[in-house]
């Protein structure tokens, strides 16, 4: 999944401009000529410079690389689903952690991913996931005192 340098260059230019523009509203330190805006502005200028170099360098290359390049193997729908399942799992963790609690969400996320990656055997995935979720919960909540939310199981695991 390769984006061409000129795509990154345009992103850097836009990002640099946005940073510089946003920084213009930052206040100065009372009694000084500068303040919160100085360093972000310098960073923004740096982005503009690098963006220009990236774009010019890429346009000079011949043959010009494609805007976006995907490995044929990675491009298969099933692989794409594999890739998407990872951020989806993280997103599910973020959204469901507090309503459901750690153990159910961990089971869901780990079990789901194992099932997806192995293309089958959901029961074994579920058992692995439950075991691992309970173990992680015990480790972090009891041993390391990380306050993982209990959620649904608050009366059982407390």
């Amino acid at each position: 999944m390769v984006f061409a340098d000129r795509v990154w260059g345009v992103l850097a230019l836009l990002g640099g401009l946005a940073i510089i523009f946003a920084a213009r509203s930052f206040p100065v330190i009372p009694g000084q000529a500068y303040g919160s805006a100085l360093v972000p502005t310098l960073i923004g200028v740096g982005f503009l410079l690098c963006g220009t170099i990236l774009i010019v360098g890429d346009l000079r290359r011949s043959p010009r690389p494609p805007v976006f390049h995907l490995d044929p193997e990675a491009g298969s729908p099933s692989r794409l689903l594999d890739v998407l399942s990872v951020p989806a799992a993280v997103l599910a963790f973020i959204l469901l952690l507090h309503p459901l609690g750690f153990v159910p969400v961990a089971t869901l996320v780990v079990g789901g991913l194992i099932w997806r990656f192995r293309r089958g055997r959901p029961l074994s995935a579920l058992i692995t996931a439950v075991t691992f979720a309970l173990f992680t919960d015990w480790l972090f909540r009891h041993l390391l005192l990380v306050p993982l939310p209990l959620g649904l199981l608050s009366s059982w695991l407390g």
Partner: protein, 499 residues
Amino acid sequence: MDTILTALSYALAPSTLVVVFFASLFGLFVGAMPGLTATLATALLVPVTFFMEPVPALAAIVSATAMAIFAGDLPGALLRIPGTPASAAYVDDAYRLTLKGQAELALGAGLVFSVIGGLVGALVLVIAAPLLAEIALSFSSFEYFWLSLLGLSCAVFVATGKPVKGAVSLLLGLFISTIGIDVAAGYPRFTFGITELMGGVSFIPAMIGMFALSEVLRWAVGHRRAGVLVQQRIGNIFRGQLGLLRRYPLGLIRGSLLGTAIGILPGAGADVAAWVSYAVSKRFSREPEKFGTGHVEGIVEAGAANNGALGGAWVPALVFGIPGDSVTAIVIGVLYMKGMDPGPTVMLERPELLYAVFSTFFLANLLMLPFGWLAIKCFRRVLHVPREVLMPAILLLCMVGAFAINNTVFGVGIMLVLGVLAFFMEESGFPVAPAILGIVLGPLVEENFITSMIKAEGHVLAFFERPIAAGLGILTILVWAMTVRRALRPEPQIAVSAG
């Protein structure tokens, strides 16, 4: 002499040894978990140390942190997930060594040179603490500004591939470090009204995302074959270490001393030490082109440096009550609680306690050899787990680690965003190491820059008025001039294939 004997009797008392034993196991475990740092290990130990005598209490912290910094190398080498930020600098080299089937070399080097670095740091602490603390204390924001800028130049050396791509990555890291309430004017920047962002982007979730999550993604994309570990068993980790010792004696000494020195400077700890040492190692190496491709030299030097920094950080903490890093910030509290108020008086009033604590530094570092060996033995079992099961499990540990830093899912969100970004960056040939360096050093650079500007009332010449600052300033400008010249030269063909 009496003092030293009393000190040893404290340090080798059965109760102390038992505490050191359990604290070491605890430290190994915490360090090996992504997202859980040596600082967290210390913070978790504090309530336990309430009920201990002074020497065991401090010995617990000493041994747990030393083990944690080493243990951070384990998931780094085997899974490309640095267990603590201090292992991030050389994680690519260690991981690629494992892929090449040389895990024992990477892990063994991490262990052996951690021990040596730790011993050097402890030795410096014993011999020269008062003198060095004095020097560190004479540094004002001008000196720190130049030092942090010098640190940024390391980005050029930790980056692989095209210089401009390294620069973009560094700028991204610096930008991320400006998010949140800025230290200078107390104004919330780039927070979009989100309270959580006012505290800034935590470094740990960022690191987990950029290294670990992007690795899981890359595996899922179908680089499965590339990611399949050649190696199913790890041989004798100590084999070949003597050879490394003979091959890189200079790097080892340089890393240990530089790491200790960076530890002594307030505000910079084991993570900065590892990055700077790695860059220095590459700069002076005879084969810099091999760095980042699975080369052990950087692991030797930076692995020694991060453990050396631990001892170094105790220097200003003990002598003046000024923390050398985030671990010793907590240690100072414990010292007060145990009636060992930091300051030169502690050396005069309770020398036997102090020397007992120093002894535990040596003890902990020596214990690291057998403990580390055992930990590697246990940890390598991870490699036998099928990747389809291992990757989801790693992802869960990463999410828990990102959660634990502030106990909110917000950290997990940061991990996700930066992980996906880092994945696309790496696919397109942008190195992520400079971004991490930018996040680490960005606040130091900005804070010292703005503070110095306020003191100088905008006069740039004030940056050269103090003698040490002038020396550091000229050195920094020279290094940067050379760096830019190097970057502008037509790139050699090797750089492209390495990226």
